[in-house]
């Protein structure tokens, strides 16, 4: 505001003295300044939106890896260990994620019965960004003696 007042005084003085039309009038300068500001605001707005989308995409990349990792962990277990798990539990991502991103991602796992000797596993990872909560989920069926048993351990 101070700068504008300064400009106004200076320009008015110039115009008054020269009488004729020389250089830019105050109006022209102000219009061009406003125009420039609007363009810049638009450009920065677009940039902000763009970088937010890229950030979301980066989060999604990480989250898919967290979900995949958990799924591999579950599939490493045998049937007895899987059914012994509680219906709903929270889990922490692999240590490297925690080291790099702290507890940014909240991970929940739900196991429900789908059929005899078949469980449905739902993994949800959610995170907050700019006041919005995002979440992504993986859903799979694990069957006793099915393809999911990559390696069967008795213990």
């Amino acid at each position: 505001m101070n700068r504008n007042a300064y400009l106004e005084g200076g320009t008015a003085g110039l115009c008054g003295r020269s009488g004729g039309r020389k250089g830019f009038t105050l109006m022209e300068v102000m219009i061009s300044a406003v125009l420039f500001a609007v363009i810049m605001l638009g450009a920065f707005g677009a940039l902000k939106r763009g970088s937010d989308l890229v950030e979301l995409s980066r989060d999604e990349t990480r989250v898919t890896q967290i979900l995949q990792s958990r799924l591999e962990d579950l599939r490493r277990e045998n049937w007895a260990a899987l059914i012994a798990r509680p219906t709903t539990e929270t889990f922490t991502p692999a240590s490297k994620f925690v080291a790099a991103f702290g507890n940014k991602y909240t991970c929940t796992q739900t196991i429900s019965s789908r059929a005899t000797d078949q469980k449905e596993v739902v993994l949800v990872v959610s995170w907050a960004k700019g006041g919005v909560t995002y979440s992504r989920e993986y859903r799979t069926w694990i069957t006793k003696g099915g393809l999911s048993d990559y390696y069967y351990r008795s213990s």
Binding site: M40, L47, S51, V54, E55, S69, R75, K96, Y151
Partner: protein, 186 residues
């Protein structure tokens, strides 16, 4: 001030001279103009840099997704691990005709690149890699350095791009991909 007075005097003296700008007026105008130009230049510069950065981030994210996808599908077909160091992984994997082929992943710290060799064909899978390490886990999920007991593999890498003096980095942490076709004892 002397200039100003001189100019005014001349103008008043009947000669049809139009009054110019006084030195003070010029200085003020230049000062204001300078401030505005600096502001405008800074914004445009910042905008340009940030746009390039966003492009870098999108690009790094895309190439990491691609690399992770390829790595995951290779590792899932692994039948045996030959070498397992933090920057080099060599394993035998089944190809689409159920034949064992040698697959390797290696980090070249001087070239800042990660190479994948599949059945004798080498390609660059990640470029401008600042840091790269592989982590190995056994059947119980515990970290291991013994090739014989490796059941899961994890990538931890950092990509870096620079725009002028600004550094854009992208941290890749993969999931612990399981070698589904590999039999290991617990």
């Amino acid at each position: 001030m002397i200039t100003t007075i001189g100019l005014r005097n001349r103008s008043r003296g009947g000669i049809a001279l139009r009054a110019g700008y006084t030195l003070v007026e010029l200085l003020i105008a230049m000062g204001i103009g300078g401030i505005f130009l600096t502001g405008a230049m800074t914004s445009v510069n910042m905008l340009a840099r940030s746009s390039v950065s966003v492009g870098h981030y999108a690009n790094m994210n895309a190439s990491s997704r691609r690399a992770l996808e390829i790595f995951a599908s290779d590792v899932r077909m692994a039948a045996d691990v030959v070498t397992s160091t933090s920057t080099n992984l060599v394993f035998e994997a089944y190809d689409d005709t159920n034949t064992l082929v040698t697959v390797s992943y290696a980090y070249d710290a001087s070239a800042d690149e990660v190479y994948r060799t599949y059945d004798g064909t080498t390609s660059t899978i990640l470029t401008e890699v600042d840091d790269f390490s592989l982590g190995y886990y056994d059947l119980t999920g515990a970290s291991t350095t013994n090739s014989l007991s490796v059941k899961e593999v994890e990538i931890d890498a950092s990509l870096i791009r620079t725009v002028l003096s600004l550094e854009n980095t992208n941290e890749i942490i993969s999931s612990r991909f399981m070698m589904r076709n590999r039999k290991v004892s617990s």
